[in-house]
């Protein structure tokens, strides 16, 4: 048994086993890092109070405010009373239970999945949970990171463990070199279009291959972030020199001898030669185009060079019906060139694409260009620290000169919980992760895109790739 080749996910699983489940019971896993935000936690704290339970490990728990927070006037009280109540509940709970919290106005405040990595808390080989499906983001470090529900949040607060059934493993092999203008976002949208929104169900995905190895940590986070959009419980990338380089020197990264011990362990984590996956998927990076969605789930995507598909092109009756419904909601006609679709708003932000690298990439495209008159553009850094760094690099000025709105950090227009929403019928090119009906506001229409496509689209006013700018 001891010499059996193992995958990355299996190694992390085994190293966190507190108790092995018997007779069909789940295994009990230790949780190294618990991230908390205001939306999915109040009922968990209430549950603890009702049961007279305390928090087992406040030192492995950290909270921030992101979903409800406004991205303007953050020095004023939150206008929406229900949002304010929820934020105040989090602050109260953090204080009562002794949890570290980064509130609006704090330099470490931001989207929970941006904050963990930037503090150096997210490390290879650890288990991370959060009451948020995009917890999969942290898998980019080779952590096993899963989104959980509120009952599980309460469970982790009380016990620092989680009962889990073993997952199956799926290798997503992406070989080759991305062409200019093609990014991590296009890889993951293509993967989801290929395996479907339920294709990863029951699996932990491991992204592998030369195209993945050459990606930065920010790009790997973008890919792992959307694993949930393929139905997977988690997505992972094996740690390597790029991972170590990103972590070294961060506030909570190990130091001195601890760093050496940690790196030695981290180097043992990548999937062993000869280990088998329960499923494998292959994607050729060399021929990938910028990818965009046309429908109302993240699997309904095509190459930006393609056209809106006809529902009849889907053999499966459920997919066919879903496509018909989606086209009606999106107000699109089959055969329309994706590049002819006019948008009203461009949103650059969300836990998928709001890190410094995303802002730099978009700023490089728009620098010196003029925004399309009919387009509104929102740029929302993932954290207060990302915002600060962008300002030090002068990126804010580039966005402002272009005519974009430069906002404070938060989830913003990714989901309709704060003031940043689309109007009914409004159409957006959005670097976020979900194009569900009403996700960005009631009746709103969403096309998921990369930061590069978002930038080019803001210039041309229609869905566009950076290469379309060169042709003019």
């Amino acid at each position: 048994m001891t010499n059996q080749p193992l995958t990355l996910a299996e190694k992390v699983w085994n190293d966190h086993l507190v108790a092995k489940g018997e007779n069909g019971a789940p295994d009990l896993l230790f949780i190294d890092l618990h991230l908390i935000h205001e939306v999915t936690s109040p009922q968990a704290f209430d549950g603890l109070r009702l049961a007279g339970r305390s928090i087992r490990r406040p030192d492995l728990t950290i909270a921030t405010e992101d979903h409800n927070t406004p991205t303007v006037d953050i020095d004023k009280p939150i206008a929406d009373p229900t949002s304010r109540t929820q934020i105040e509940a989090l602050r109260h709970n953090a204080k009562e239970f002794g949890i570290r919290i980064h509130s609006l106005g704090d330099v470490e405040q931001g989207i929970v999945h941006v904050v963990g990595p930037q503090l150096g808390l997210t490390m290879p080989g650890i288990t991370v949970v959060c009451g948020d499906s995009h917890t999969s983001t942290h898998g980019a470090f080779g952590a096993l990171a899963i989104g959980i529900g509120t009952s599980e949040v309460e469970h982790v607060l009380a016990t620092q463990t989680l009962p889990l059934k073993p997952f199956k493993t799926m290798a997503i092999n992406v070989e080759g070199t991305l062409r200019k203008g093609v990014t991590a976002k296009d890889i993951i949208l293509a993967v989801i279009a290929k395996i479907g929104t339920g294709g990863g169900q029951g699996y932990v995905l491991e992204y592998r291959g030369s195209a993945i190895r050459s990606l930065s940590m920010e790009a790997r986070m973008t890919i792992c972030n959307m694993s949930i959009e393929a139905g997977a419980r988690a997505g992972m990338v094996a740690p390597d020199e790029i991972t170590f380089e990103y972590l070294k020197g961060r506030a909570h990264a190990p130091q001195g001898k601890d760093w050496e011990d940690a790196v030695e362990y981290w180097k043992s984590l990548p999937t062993d030669d000869g280990a088998t996956f329960d499923a494998e998927v292959f994607l050729d990076a060399n021929i990938l185009d910028p990818f965009v969605t046309w429908g109302t789930n993240p699997g309904q995507g095509v190459s930006l060079n393609d056209v809106v598909p006809a529902p009849s092109s889907f053999a499966d009756p459920n997919e066919n019906a879903a496509a018909q419904r989606a086209l009606e909601y999106m107000d699109l006609v089959p055969g329309t060139k994706m590049k002819d679709i006019k948008v009203d708003t461009v949103f650059l932000g969300s836990c998928t694409n709001s890190r410094i690298e995303d802002l730099r990439a978009a700023a490089a495209i728009i620098n010196g260009k003029k925004k399309s008159d009919h387009v509104r553009m929102l740029v929302v850094p993932g954290s207060a620290r990302v915002r600060l760094q962008a300002e030090q690099e002068g990126l804010d000025q580039i966005f402002k000169d272009f005519g974009a709105e430069w906002r404070f950090a938060g989830c913003s227009m990714c989901l309709g919980m704060n003031p940043d929403q689309l109007a009914p019928g409004e159409r957006a090119a959005s670097t976020s992760n979900r194009n569900f009906e009403g996700r960005q506001g009631k009746g709103a229409r969403t096309h998921l895109v990369s930061p590069l496509v978002a930038a080019a689209t803001a210039i041309r006013g229609t869905l566009s790739a950076p290469s379309d700018l060169e042709e003019n």
Partner: protein, 199 residues
């Protein structure tokens, strides 16, 4: 959590696949800090349509939802389960459930029974032929019954046992507290700690 063994309630045919949790409960309803009172939020956007299934008299008091595949995808919000539960649903039948949703449902006593796509169609047809008809969910036999039609459903055995016994997860885990303490003692020093805070 109450024990669940057998239940009979009005069946609702939801002829849609990929019902994500943003549809089950839009984000605007997630601002409440209570765990109950979400019945008005269930399918809030779709309920604006007078033709929507839950707006039809026969289905208004629905208790067993029969939906297309990939039910509960997307956001981890447990509010989706609370909304279904508060509305009155005791069970959802579908050919495929998203993992997080299914886990959340099991914690709240909402049965998620996996049925084949052909059985989904049979149930839809049978309900539509007799709107308001009740479906019996037998968690002991793992069978859903509507008149002469009996459909087997699958459910994770551990979850089924917990539902049958009405057991609380935290209480179960705390039986292993000694193992948790032993595990904590051997964790390497370099593992992340949020406290004391470093910047």
């Amino acid at each position: 959590m109450d024990k669940f063994t057998r239940f009979s309630g009005v069946g609702v045919p939801l002829r849609r696949s990929n019902v994500d949790t943003d549809q089950i409960i839009p984000a605007v309803y997630l601002k409440r800090i209570t765990k109950t009172g979400f019945d008005d939020a269930l399918f809030a956007s779709w309920r604006n349509d007078p033709e929507f299934i839950l707006n039809q008299d026969a289905y208004k008091h629905g208790e067993v939802l029969v939906a297309g595949p990939d039910f509960g995808t997307g956001s981890s919000r447990e509010h989706a389960v609370w909304a279904l539960r508060d509305y009155g649903f005791k069970a959802v039948l579908s050919a495929k459930f998203a993992d997080i949703f299914r886990g959340n449902a099991g914690k709240q006593g909402l049965v998620t029974g996996e049925i084949s796509e052909s059985d989904t169609e049979k149930l839809w047809t049978a309900i539509e032929a007799n709107p308001g008809v009740k479906i019996e969910i037998d968690l002991i036999k793992k069978v859903a019954t509507l008149g002469d039609l009996s459909v087997p459903f699958a459910i994770d055995e551990y979850t089924r046992w917990r539902l049958l016994e009405g057991l609380d997860d935290i209480g179960l885990t705390l039986r292993d507290e000694a193992a948790i303490t032993a595990f904590e003692a051997k964790r390497p020093a370099w593992m992340p700690k949020t406290l004391p805070a470093r910047h």
